[in-house]
């Protein structure tokens, strides 16, 4: 049986892909196409995701309908802005390949690089 952490990612994948509120049953059915997974396990993990703030839910008759609180792109944008935020000390927690070149420099360096490559053929 896959670990909870791994399942969290797979379930979020499904919810994001669905694009509309889903039942636990929908997710189980989608997951079972690729792996063996118990209904109760999925239910538990989705509860965890709800408590962690990843999923929102609303009662629909006797079951809950779940949907993602934020689209995936939003989280991605947040991660990137955190990692590349060089002004606050949050950014200090990461090492990044910085992109601080001016257009003029890019052209100049590109040319230098090309020449070095040509010279490098004989190396």
């Amino acid at each position: 049986m896959p670990k909870f952490g791994e399942l969290e990612a797979v379930i979020m994948d499904e919810v994001w892909q669905a694009g509309e509120p889903v039942l636990v049953r929908d997710v189980v059915q989608a997951l079972q196409r690729e792996r063996e997974v118990a209904y109760t396990t999925v239910q538990t993990v989705m509860e965890i995701l709800f408590r962690k703030g990843w999923l929102a839910r609303e009662k629909d008759r006797r079951a809950y309908r779940y949907w993602a609180r934020q689209p995936r792109e939003e989280y991605t944008a947040q991660l990137l802005s955190e990692a590349f935020d060089t002004t606050s000390d949050r950014g200090a927690a990461f090492s990044r390949l910085l992109q601080d070149l001016q257009p003029g420099e890019i052209a100049e360096l590109g040319q230098a690089l090309e020449e070095a490559r040509k010279r490098g053929i004989g190396e």
Binding site: A83, S95, R96, L97
Partner: protein
């Protein structure tokens, strides 16, 4: 008193002349790892010299004696004597408070810095686990985004993260070079060096030397990772990758103003550079170590050779601390 003065002067010289010299030194770009060690030694030495200098005020250094009991006695007497005189008491208390302040602030800010950046990274990793997906060929974490970004999250469960924008733009050789660069960051634990330098700025940011140290370490870890990548991959591939990533990235106004370290790094990769000879490196390492040990020696030397307090007289010759203090009062 003189020991305190020597140590404080030592710290002052390191913080001014020392930092300026090291920043201007030409060899740092040729041996970035050594240069990082040198900046760390310089920083640590400044802190140690100030703390020990203040301590030297509070605790007059007694003569080291073969007999432990005698040593303890003379030490106690010397301290007693120092506190017996009004001027001595003020000086001693002041020294003690100063030493404690510096030490406590240094430790507190370090803990804050390290735990804060670890917490930021942990939360970041948790989000990554759900939002990113693993690339099958390289094992890096991929994020769906058209902008070309590459970075790494250090720590016990470290990750190299790349946007799909970067992944599609880079050719195989360039991709390998970029990954080698990031892996060097992780392997050499650059995040610890960065956090240590940042901690000192957090604690004593008013000191110019510590701000320079942080900026230099930030620059040098990149050079070090570039060098490590150049050892296994072609350095021109790395230069190309950096250029590709820069060309595809949206311009950022705040960064451009700082002047580009990236341009310098790319030029360095294109021209190649001669690394420092091994013996020069060994010499540098020894110097760095000497820098740190110097304040310890300064503190220990008078205790080994010079006479104790009581104006250089043997404390044992005085019947009581009062008498020793009386002598001290006369000569201070």
């Amino acid at each position: 008193m003189s020991v305190a003065l020597i140590l404080w002067c030592y710290a002052a010289v390191l913080a001014t002349v020392g930092a300026t010299t090291l920043r201007r030194a030409g060899w740092t770009d040729r041996a970035p790892r050594l240069a990082i060690a040198a900046w760390q030694a310089l920083s640590l030495s400044i802190v140690l010299a100030t703390v020990f200098g203040s301590l030297a005020l509070a605790v007059p250094i007694p003569q080291v004696s073969a007999n432990l009991a005698e040593l303890v006695e003379s030490c106690a007497m010397a301290v007693q004597a120092r506190y017996a005189t009004p001027g001595g008491a003020t000086l001693a208390t002041g020294g003690l408070v100063l030493a404690a302040l510096i030490a406590v602030r240094g430790v507190y800010c370090s803990m804050l810095e390290f735990s804060h950046s670890a917490a930021v990274r942990r939360r970041h990793r948790e989000t990554l686990a759900l939002v990113g997906r693993a690339a099958e060929d390289t094992g890096v974490t991929l994020l769906d985004d058209d902008r070309p970004y590459v970075y790494c999250v250090a720590g016990r469960r470290h990750r190299i993260v790349m946007t799909t924008g970067a992944h599609t733009r880079l050719e195989r050789a360039q991709l390998d070079a970029v990954l080698a660069h990031e892996r060097a960051h992780l392997r050499e634990r650059h995040h610890l060096a960065l956090a240590a330098a940042a901690a000192l700025v957090r604690a004593f940011g008013w000191l110019w030397a510590f701000r320079v140290a942080r900026d230099e370490v930030t620059r040098l870890v990149e050079l070090s990772a570039d060098d490590a990548a150049s050892r296994t991959e072609h350095r021109l591939s790395l230069a190309e990758a950096m250029l590709t990533l820069s060309a595809g990235a949206p311009p950022s106004g705040t960064l451009a103003a700082t002047g580009s370290t990236t341009a310098t790094r790319i030029r360095r990769l294109i021209t190649g550079h001669r690394p420092l000879a091994a013996w020069t490196g060994a010499l540098g390492m020894t110097s760095a170590l000497a820098l740190v040990v110097a304040p310890l020696i300064a503190l220990a030397t008078p205790a080994m050779t010079a006479g104790p307090d009581c104006c250089g007289n043997e404390p044992a010759r005085f019947a009581a601390a009062d008498e020793c203090a009386a002598v001290n009062r006369d000569c201070w």
